[in-house]
Symmetry: D2
């Protein structure tokens, strides 16, 4: 903490602040400057902080400095976290945070077995190793499609078995998280729940990796603190995901903040993905922003794909077509190479289920 | 929905959009203008919407118009909602949304019985009829004080019994909500949980009124839709609360958006309170903004008060002193009169517990 | 400036930063803390600052602390600035920043002599002492009405002579400022020009008071620095004006940030007005927010009034009717009293020009 | 314009709105829907718009639809604008908006002849064809370095002559614009002046191309309207430039909004560049965001480079080193290829002035 005194603050006022600080159990470091004195405060353990210093005579401003995160920080662990999914069934080994980008694709919501299988097949062929799909949908309106629940999870398990794709799906409360961790490979916590601390703690007690989306108006510090909640319960496999933030700009649904990629990489060892689908909300902007995310150094992408967006029960406007996914993967593959990273190769266009699974 | 065609769109392109719209089951209303044609779309029930119109040749823009809320809307219920708390024990009758403003005051978190009783007494004397205090605290850091839980609820119940104050306290998940509804008079849903739809639905099945805080970056429509979630489950006693939104401005912790008061009043019949404590995050701005909220037409206030803010375990910086609460109440009382509303009178300064209870 | 070192920074790294700081001519104050070391830097004169410290090994973050404003600051001048307009012609003495609120009202743009006189008469009767009206309009579109220019200024001068109202009008460049200072009593600098530093300096060389509107996304510091630009050229009669900032919220045209009133009053001695017309952009929100501004402690208001808003060439949606102005003035008069301030009384409803002038 | 009636609006109320609209000279298109009626309004020429419809009985909301820009729009000109700089002196032919990306690099401000030449040489060697440098600096503080003025322009002219680099520099008012157009190849209008309409009009009367930076809180529509101002005066050579917008996010100085690239490209034929230096404000984020910009489809970059950032008189924190520029150019060159575009090759590392000029 730093207390900046007013220019006309008297030595007595400076002394009074220092005494108060020391009385509260901290250490005060007065620094006289050309125009005014600042007082550094150390020893702040973070549980109690003096609530009345700003009101003391001569005080201009109180600035909070200390970063409260620990486990997420490169201060604690310098090596990049790589989350490994070992070979299992039809699924080959995969990683998120390593040299190969983690590409997650699939429909916004699971609407039927046919839809999921049709899209899953195309996702697998594109080279992506992770399949996304919502079984529990947090919708702004109570009257909108709320997801298929456990039935949706079972369909996704079938997609995994057939096409060798890992499943990423959202949990919205402790009950759905209980089911999600049975069926899925990665538990997603959505933007709206980024500060649902009960849910974060519950996810922290799960054995499955957690994909944590940035809240719509979360600062980097709040985002990292949400990851800290999960890690503080013992689950260290956290994947961060930028999905656009809310600003005044109205040409996209959200403003995709790609600068958070290098910012996260400076402060934290956790991998960071980007969701250009929610991040823009418009089909024609998904591919350019996916390329940009890879170029900025993202550890992967999460993308909405639908074979018939006109009939999608949610987010049809932002889902790309399977052919667009193939093109996007191809471009990102080339960009990744420039950054000494890679994107897995596509499977032969006509490969059938057995061949897809065998190729894994 | 409104589709705005490009200026150079051909009649065939306009026709193609209309045909697609009709094929999807809606009605298309083409409106040729001086420079371009717009196509109104009606019959949109809100469950499915065409995800590919924006990509059709000649289409410039697609604008979404329909408001999805129903039960919260003045379209459905023109009369203002008044939530009544009948006389019970030491508590006299009280309302929120009526002529008398609903004033809620108390500490950020319940820290001990002594603290709660000391503050509760002063809150009661000030004329406020509702006591706030957190037993379950949603804290940004997992290492911060997380609240006393059920013990805190029991302490608040004692504050109610002694001083005739109704209890308002936050629930953060279904488990805490179960306890809160046993002890409290009003269930608070915090800003971070405004789109925790599971929690909203659970609150909607409670018999207690719900105070719903606006999310940090919630639009008015999202705020009303969150209330709709609660109401759609059968609980019509919802109180809205503005508590500041996140913007670039850094002279306050949040930017208190008082213009939402007349905006809510135009669209909805629900009462709207203001929280100037979280809304500013700074003690010296609480009183001016509380006055402003009343002057703008708010149905009440929720204010953090602490008798010893230096030792507060949370939010000491934004808690006012009991004497400041008295002064604030006095000023708001006068302003309320100008708007043909009122604030309950203070109790005599030296009244003891029994007299306070008797005065209720 | 404060340099926060990483937790694992070595003593050598701390020393290297201190040496670099000293080499650049500043003084370094290392403060070892429980978890990490911070280094305070003083002697920063503000012209040069080290651009590479953030990249040095072991450095976590660099925080800028010093406030660059001087003349605007209460550090330099503790007494509130009161701008006095002496009796002159039909204009009685008036002040802005004193006990009486400065109320400025009039149309968005001067459209004709008839319009200006009709509105001017009603403004004078309402008790307001200042008349606003745009002769040079900064419009988003080059095809919109751009104002009447010097002809508009002459019409306003006639409004002053007839009704004893001081004239407030915007200058948009040095040429228009030259004309504005001939005719007007207060030079307005609009939000879009808040960081048009050439214009600010030119206004600083004028002898007329300047009303400076907050830019659409200006922080408090930037706002005060813009005032500093004017004052640094010798014109100390600066009036600040909050007019809403740009946020994600879409229920009003801008988000009126009333909390800046107490924030300005803490840091600066300059008066601060509020513009609830641009601040909300909607007629039905002007009166509630005007009341709120006065209750928050504003030194006055600037309000758009039009007798026939359907025919207004600009901003008809946010202009109130003259009768609404009367009601607003009456309510603000009562609220001002509670804050020990006052609003001038209205003139008798049927007073004619001569009587209005005589009453001044 | 679209008027959305309330659900309980009566047929008479709908009719009254239609009549008012027609009376004002527009055409009304009522569209009865399942829940409510909407009324489309066409024939709006943009100069007058009814200011009182929102207040009429039964009206829920008024939505503004029409886009006021014309000359900037693809509606008017479908082909992409390519700005050509013909061969001249030591400068080879260059374009902005064509297949080759326009790369502009140089110091924030021109500080001395030595500094400009040292940096200019490295810029030329990197393969960039445009040199940036401020002679007129819009600084937040009146006490900061304000630029060298005409002397700085002359130094830049020497950089052009020696190294064959085109000069891009900012004008801040009509006086500086007069000088800038004498010496520079591209006139830059800065973010703070994006809505300085007098300056825009003046630039519109210049014969030199204009680089227009997006304002700190400008919507896409406002940005395009600012370009429209320039074009409406006859200067069609406008280059747009995204440089970050102001949001709540605090890990960068501004939030770089790359999604505006595809958004501009959909609506307008003008080229769009990206400034990752101001867009992030931090040296370590410039390169990742430059790559991302190219990957998103930007038509070029504008980058701050300094050979000794510790001594820079402005923006040292965000200037990259010449070696970093070389690496950045190399990466962007590779990414450009993937998008079927190109970046000019670097010159041999040891080439001297004459060779550099000859290579042009």
């Amino acid at each position: 903490m730093l207390v900046v005194m007013k220019a006309q603050a008297t030595p007595e006022q400076v002394r009074a602040v220092c005494e108060k600080v020391e009385k509260l159990g901290y250490k005060a470091h007065p620094m006289p400057g050309a125009q005014r004195t600042a007082i550094g405060i150390t020893g702040n353990t973070g549980t109690v902080e003096p609530g009345t210093i700003e009101e003391m005579p001569g005080v201009g401003e109180v600035i909070h400095v200390s970063k409260p995160y620990k486990l997420v920080s490169r201060d604690v662990k310098e090596d990049q976290t790589i989350i490994t999914f070992p070979r299992q069934g039809n699924c080959e080994e995969a990683t998120i945070g390593g040299a190969e980008l983690g590409i997650i694709a699939g429909p916004c919501g699971i609407e039927s077995r046919e839809q999921a299988l049709a899209i899953g097949e195309r996702v697998a062929r594109s080279g992506a190793k992770f399949f996304r799909g919502g079984a529990y949908k947090p919708r702004t309106s109570p009257y909108s499609f709320q997801g298929m629940g456990v039935d949706g999870l079972k369909i996704m398990a079938e997609v995994r078995d057939r096409f060798g794709l890992r499943i990423v799906t959202e949990a919205v409360d402790s009950e759905s998280l209980f089911h999600v961790e049975q069926y899925a490979d990665v538990i997603q916590i959505g933007a709206r729940n980024m500060q649902n601390f009960s849910l974060l703690k519950r996810a922290g007690r799960s054995k499955k990796p957690v994909l944590l989306k940035r809240g719509m108006s979360a600062t980097l510090e709040e985002f990292l603190m949400a990851a800290e909640y999960i890690m503080s319960e013992g689950n260290y496999n956290v994947i961060l995901c930028e999905r656009g933030v809310r600003t005044f700009a109205d040409h996209t649904r959200n403003t995709l903040d790609l600068s958070i990629i290098p910012a996260v990489q400076r402060l934290s060892h956790l991998p960071i993905l980007v969701d250009p689908s929610h991040g823009t909300g418009k089909r024609n902007k998904v591919t350019p922003m996916a390329r940009a995310a890879v170029a900025a150094g993202a550890d992967g992408l999460i993308i909405e794909v639908h074979h018939d967006p006109d009939k999608a029960l949610s987010d049809g406007n932002q889902s790309i077509y399977p052919d667009q996914l193939d093109a996007l993967m191809s471009e990102c593959r080339q960009i990744a190479t420039i950054l000494k990273r890679k994107v897995a190769k596509p499977l032969p266009a006509k490969s059938n289920e057995r061949e897809i699974a065998a190729a894994r």
